[in-house]
């Protein structure tokens, strides 16, 4: 528990630096640090699959975010900050924080799972029968590619949509339109 707490505190420090620093590139690097810390935390939480996925996704995130900011002029936000608005915002975020802490009373205590409190939860059924029913020794594999395969299908569909959307947004205007505009200008 103490190790996880230390990792989380490091993540919080990284997040604060990422949000408050003025240089965009260093802020992206700080987000990368937070992501890799989360990967380590997943390893200690008994989730090696998640740690591997997080590593790959984090590398991709860094590349994509750097693509967004490289060769761009450094945008310096010069607008004066309204003190009143900032105070109200911080107060609202604090209210959200306190309300969220109240929710934790309904969670299982740290270090206990839902499986400990109830018999025959879906998780314990998956753990008990996953290997014999699907043949996968890794229960996560059995879950994603066996019991909840439609979940994986939906995930692939979402990523496909995101890539198609990104291509549609980044697409250059077609040459044909340009030619049509030129010919219109000539005609005028």
């Amino acid at each position: 528990m103490s190790l996880l707490a230390v990792l989380l505190v490091l993540m919080i420090i990284g997040a604060i630096i990422a949000i408050e620093t003025t240089n965009l590139l260093s802020s992206i690097v700080c987000v990368g640090a937070v992501g890799f810390l989360i990967s380590i935390a997943f390893l200690f939480m008994g989730a090696p699959d998640l740690a591997i996925t997080q590593l790959v996704v984090e590398a991709l995130c860094l590349i994509i975010l750097i693509r967004a900011t490289i060769n761009r002029d450094l945008t310096s936000v010069t607008g004066d900050r309204e003190f009143f608005g900032l105070t109200v915002t911080v107060a609202m975020v604090l209210v959200c924080l306190i309300a969220g802490v109240k929710v934790f009373e309904d969670f299982p205590a740290f270090g206990q799972t839902v499986m400990d409190r109830m018999a025959d939860t879906p998780s314990s059924v998956y753990l008990a029968h996953g290997t014999e029913q699907t043949g996968a020794r890794n229960v996560i594999t059995a879950l994603i590619l066996g019991y909840r395969n439609y979940d994986a299908l939906g995930q692939v569909a979402v990523i496909f949509c995101a890539v198609i959307g990104a291509l549609a947004i980044l697409r250059r205007p077609a040459k044909k339109d340009q030619k049509a505009k030129d010919s219109e200008a000539d005609a005028v």
Partner: protein, 115 residues
Amino acid sequence: MVYALCLVLIAIGLYGVVVKKNVVKIVISLAIIEYGINVLLVLIGYRSGGCAPILQQGMTAATLVANSVDPLPQALVLTAIMINLGMLILMVAICIRLYERYGTFDITEMRRLKG
């Protein structure tokens, strides 16, 4: 207490989304919120001293049920991580387009967003 630290991470991201005026900073703040939520979900299924939900040599299903961490949140978070990547791709594409159109990342200078 560990749950509360995750919530602090989410709150920092929320602060960044609301206060910051740079589009890339807002995207980064959203990514931080996603990280916080992922860690919180996996922590709910954590069992102190638990092993990974993988059937190792010499283990039976009964010992796995008694010792392993909860596999269900992990499977769902695995999906969520990939979907977050898709969201990030889309947001960064919009950022690049906005920069090409306005020449800045500052949202206070983007005043021509009319229909």
